[in-house]
């Protein structure tokens, strides 16, 4: 994106404001993405911290990413994969993270959100990842495919299987 390139150019000139704008633009998306992969608030925040500080160091040394968005998503993913490999798999009961937030006061939405949340956490990791990236991050299937190192068709199937399981889970509980 042109705006990303302007901000990177600002960072190359050493402008802290450009870095702050870039952080504001990506922080919640990258935090949710990390949270969905690693399922720990503290570790997800550490990953986001390391990714942005790493970016500042790279750009500060004159090495600018060609595609900022891809660079940030891949950096988050690689760091999360490293951490997930080193720790044991948590059971659903041990996981207490909020991947999305319901509008306050809307009790029906809040209850439905609990079901959706639980269903999302029970999906296989690759399917949950595609659902998160497609739904909340609006990434193209081709971009998700590059991120997962899979074909576009595989990613499309993962998305459809994921939605189908979520729908089934909601069908059981809602109607």
């Amino acid at each position: 994106m042109a705006q990303d390139q302007d901000l990177i150019a600002g960072m190359l000139r050493g402008e802290a404001a450009a870095f702050a704008d870039l952080y504001q633009a990506y922080r919640t998306r990258l935090y949710q993405y990390a949270l969905s992969l690693i399922r720990s608030r503290m570790e997800a925040e550490d990953v986001v911290h390391d990714v942005f500080v790493g970016l500042a160091k790279q750009v500060g040394a004159g090495r600018a990413p060609r595609e900022l968005s891809a660079y940030l998503y891949v950096s988050v993913r690689n760091r999360c994969v490293d951490r997930v490999r080193r720790k044991r798999t948590l059971s659903l009961e041990e996981v207490s993270v909020e991947l999305f937030v319901a509008p306050p006061g809307d009790e029906e939405r809040i209850e439905l959100g609990r079901l959706l949340h639980r269903a999302l956490l029970t999906l296989p990791a690759e399917q949950a990842e595609v659902v998160v990236l497609r739904t909340w991050h609006n990434l193209e299937f081709a971009a998700i495919a590059r991120l997962q190192g899979a074909s576009r068709n595989t990613v499309l199937s993962r998305y459809q299987y994921g939605l189908s399981k979520l729908r089934k889970e909601l069908g059981i509980h809602v109607g």
Binding site: F19, R27, Y31, Q58
Partner: protein
């Protein structure tokens, strides 16, 4: 429930906020790193001006060629 309806339902939920502590940590560390980089850029510009004045302008092109590179990243599998 159709895929479209389920997607709309999911999109009705917003992303979780990051903590204020994370904002502070990232912005302070990032600003400090870039401040050091800004000093380096200033020193480089002084060096370039000196080289140009002394008639060694081609050296600045050579330095750019050697030092400028893209940040590297690769995909790992889950």
């Amino acid at each position: 429930m159709s895929d479209d309806r389920l997607e709309r339902l999911l999109r009705g939920y917003r992303l979780p906020n990051v903590s204020h502590d994370l904002d502070l940590r990232v912005l302070q560390e990032g600003a400090a790193i870039l401040e050091r980089a800004r000093h380096r850029v200033t020193m480089e510009q002084v060096g370039r001006t000196v080289l140009l004045r002394l008639g060694f302008g081609y050296l600045t092109l050579l330095i750019d060629f050697v030092t400028q590179s893209d940040a590297e990243y690769r995909v790992e599998f889950l």
